[in-house]
């Protein structure tokens, strides 16, 4: 029984990470007006930055966390000009292909230049493997607690931003009707840039939690994550922020359960299954594609 509960906690932690990722993803879809296939790759790159910062500061926890979060924000910001002409033209499919190309470039950089392509491994003190709560044969680690609590805080902050601030209203307006947003005098380009910054921030935070949860990173992690994030987004409905949360938790649970019995590679199969099911039954996603 306790093992089961521990597995659930693990699944929730994993699901929270996916939820953060899909929220950043959806924000870029809705406000950025693009299909950010390379978002997960930027997140993995941030993981590398975190690892690197810890390496040069002798495993300083704070340095690693800051490096991850800041680099996520900055990298995302840097990609905005690339997509700007496409967002302006509302060329969604074009932005998808551009993002694919960007993703490949990032993967290549990680495969060839960073750590000479060797898998990086996150130092123990960030991984948070110490058991914080023990009950019976099961344990809950510091990492898991940090992830769940951190995610909840991030979401509260994000939804507060979205629903209670001027900038959040501007985001939602742009997502619902770019024309109305323009008429209201909302600065289109500047608002898009903000969305990239926030998505990047969430990506950076996810990178840290991912580092805790997985403990390693490699150049192939980008593609792996991208597939899952897209599966979640499609399952809930691309652009649907609330729905994405739910779908992410579902994936987390499904993966957590399956991974207990099958090798890691097969986790991709779940994502694939989700995609195929939703495409056949409800192509627009379970909850529809609205903000």
């Amino acid at each position: 029984m306790e093992i089961f509960v521990a597995q659930i906690i693990n699944a929730i932690a994993l699901g929270s990470i996916y939820a953060l990722l899909v929220t950043g993803f959806n924000l870029l879809v809705v406000v950025g007006g693009i299909f950010p296939f390379a978002y997960s790759h930027i997140v993995v790159l941030s993981m590398y930055m975190c690892w690197f910062a810890m390496k040069v500061t002798g495993n300083n926890l704070l340095a690693g966390i800051l490096a991850g979060i800041v680099s996520g924000t900055i990298f995302s910001f840097l990609t905005e000009p690339i997509f700007r002409p496409l967002a302006k033209r509302q060329a969604q499919l074009g932005s998808f292909i551009v993002a694919m190309a960007l993703a490949l470039i990032l993967t290549e950089v990680m495969a060839q230049k960073l750590n000479m392509g060797i898998v990086i491994s996150i130092p123990q003190n960030l991984q948070g493997r110490e058991a914080l709560i023990k009950f019976g044969a099961a344990t809950i680690t510091a990492g898991q607690i940090a992830t769940i609590v951190g995610s909840i805080v991030s979401f509260l902050g994000f939804f507060y931003l979205l629903y209670r601030t001027k900038q959040g209203r501007a985001f939602r307006a742009m997502g619902q009707s770019p024309f109305s947003a323009r008429i209201l005098g909302i600065p289109i380009v500047r608002t898009r840039i903000y969305s990239y910054l926030i998505a990047g921030l969430m990506g950076g935070i996810s990178a840290i939690f991912l580092a805790m949860a997985i403990g390693t990173a490699s150049s192939s992690l980008g593609d792996n994550l991208a597939l899952k994030v897209m599966a979640v987004a499609m399952f809930a409905g691309v652009g649907n922020l609330g729905g994405g949360l739910v779908a992410a938790l579902i994936l987390g649970l499904a993966e957590g359960m399956v991974l207990a019995y099958l090798p890691g590679d097969w986790s991709q199969a779940i994502a694939f299954g989700m995609i195929m099911i939703i495409v056949m039954i409800k192509p627009r996603g379970l909850f529809g594609t609205m903000v």
């Binding site: 209203r169 619902q176 109305s180 323009r182 008429i183 209201l184 005098g185 909302i186 289109i188």
Partner: protein
Amino acid sequence: MSYGPIQALRGVTIEVNEGEIVVLIGANGAGKTTLVETILGLTRAAVGCIRYMGEDITHKKTEHIVASGICLVPEGRGILPLMTVMENLLLGAYHFKGDVDENLKLTYSLFPVLKERSGQMAGTLSGGEQQMLSVARGLMSRPRLMMLDEPSLGLAPSIVKELFKKISDLNREGYTILLSEQNARQALQCAHRGYVFGTGEIVLSGDAQELIRSSRVQQAYLGGSCE
């Protein structure tokens, strides 16, 4: 404020003075919407210039034009259906630099119906209420020039009457209004001056009351006989 010739419309020149209601009438596709959108910077004028408060705003970006006090209540209302009435109004105040709560209170006093519905999703309002919301939203920016594009479209006659009364009220409060309308009679009745559009050009212009009496306008837009 004056506006010079704009190419997509051929040789259009109109002028709006502070405190006036100026009306553009003409059939759909005659260029009224194009003119209004060009003023706001949504479409670019190939030739000609737009001068506002002494400044040339022809090549300015929409966000700056709106920030400097021109607002548009677009054709079709342009409200955000998935956001509440209050959120729509707050969005109208995006560039407003004063006390937003005061502003909101004032707007609600002018549009009590909206106050009742302030927490409702804007998409669930009736056509007339949505139009009021759109106008009120424009008001939240405390504009110097308020442009309304076909506000009576799709509304029941009794609501249209109320709408034009509201427009006159606003003008009396001091708002300068540029109104583009197919409903020529009611529009001209509350306006000071008017321009008549026909496929991209100005066909007639002058004092609004004179236009109502003009036989050309009567035949083309007012159903032929003077009521």
